[in-house]
Symmetry: C2
Subunit: 190 residues, 2 copies
DNA sequence: CAAAAATCTTAATCTTGTTCAAGAAAGGCG
DNA sequence: CGCCTTTCTTGAACAAGATTAAGATTTTTG
């Protein structure tokens, strides 16, 4: 159960056996059912979540009542609301499972203590945040430089298997247009 | 000259006098004129840049030849292209001064050595990347939930002094619409 | 297996913002 | 100070994608 996480850690840092044991002792393991909530809009986010397997989405509800997806997380990704967690503010976002998922929980309340005992984790998170930040700017790049249709085709090429995994209306939301428009695009060509 | 950087560092971590001296010995200071390039599209990004004062933009050129601004950085922000720097790939972006600016340069080539000598810097960058990543997702939130006009009004309220600082066509680009449209918005009301 | 819930499609109409094109202001420099 | 470059504005024609509404299909569950 912890294997995927430690494999991921070892891509970026080295750990002694002792350190591995310490880390394990600070983590919790959990299974969430499809549609189960990990965080609901208005709650203060209390943990960082590592997806062992499954699929999780983070979204908010617009004034018109539609759901807007901000992020997807699948196997080997972390998901949380850093704004809510860092400032202990109510979150604007809801985090919810899109498939039954196995997750590992790193609670904010003990994170500092863990980082003190295993400081190399600061490095691990620095590096993966660097990647996540770059990916996010990259996404802004695509939003601004491609049309909706181009964005869909590009995403489809880049992550063909992921596209199969989530309902199309969620994909449309993530890509920033309506499900009706996605339908239209798909009708135009395979 | 180093004072703003160390003040920023001290917001997130504590440093001994020794550590401060080590850090200083790894940094370079530079002044860039308005319109001077720090990185040009196609080059491999070799450093992370801290803005002591001034204003820097990061943008790319679309197929139609228009410039699309992805990021602004002002006093006390770092700017770089992490994708290019981490993977030593040619950058898709150009980083250019929008005002005469004083910057501090942390070169990729000596970054690792510095982090080994002052490991608490990993923590500093972890925290500021957490903020930067959150801000970037927040920006995606705004792009998806607000109209162009709403985005402009919101930005104008949030950063009134910054709006005065850059040409409107750059602001329009950053907000994701044309300068003509920004003109139209401004004509509608204050 | 049947009924209910969730998801996807189609088409007509409407909005937001783009594109072009041209001129008006403003700013910087010799 | 006057010219040249940069920036800003305006308006008409147009395009991308939203909205609404209805029906079709698929999936889930009792």
């Amino acid at each position: 159960m912890f294997t995927p996480l430690f494999n991921h850690l070892k891509k970026y840092i080295s750990l002694t056996t002792d350190e591995e044991e310490i880390i394990k002792s600070y983590l919790q393991v959990s299974t969430v059912a499809n549609k189960e909530y990990i965080l609901q809009q208005g709650q203060v986010c209390q943990a960082n979540y590592f997806i062992v397997n499954g699929c999780i989405r983070k979204y908010f509800t617009t004034e018109q009542g539609t759901e807007q997806i901000i992020q997807f997380a699948i196997d080997n990704w972390w998901i949380t609301d850093y704004t809510s967690m860092d400032f202990q503010q109510p979150s604007l976002y809801t985090i919810q499972a899109v498939e039954e998922s196995e997750i590992i929980i790193l609670k904010k309340s003990i994170e500092e203590e863990l980082f003190q005992r295993v400081p190399v984790l600061e490095r691990y998170f620095r590096i993966i945040l660097q990647r996540a930040f770059a990916a996010s700017l990259n996404r802004i790049h695509y939003i601004y430089s491609l049309s909706g249709e181009e964005r869909y085709r590009h995403f489809n090429n880049a992550f063909p298997d992921f596209v199969q995994r989530v309902p199309q209306y969620m994909l449309a939301s993530y890509l920033g247009f309506t499900p009706e428009f996605l339908s239209k695009i798909r009708a135009r060509k395979g």
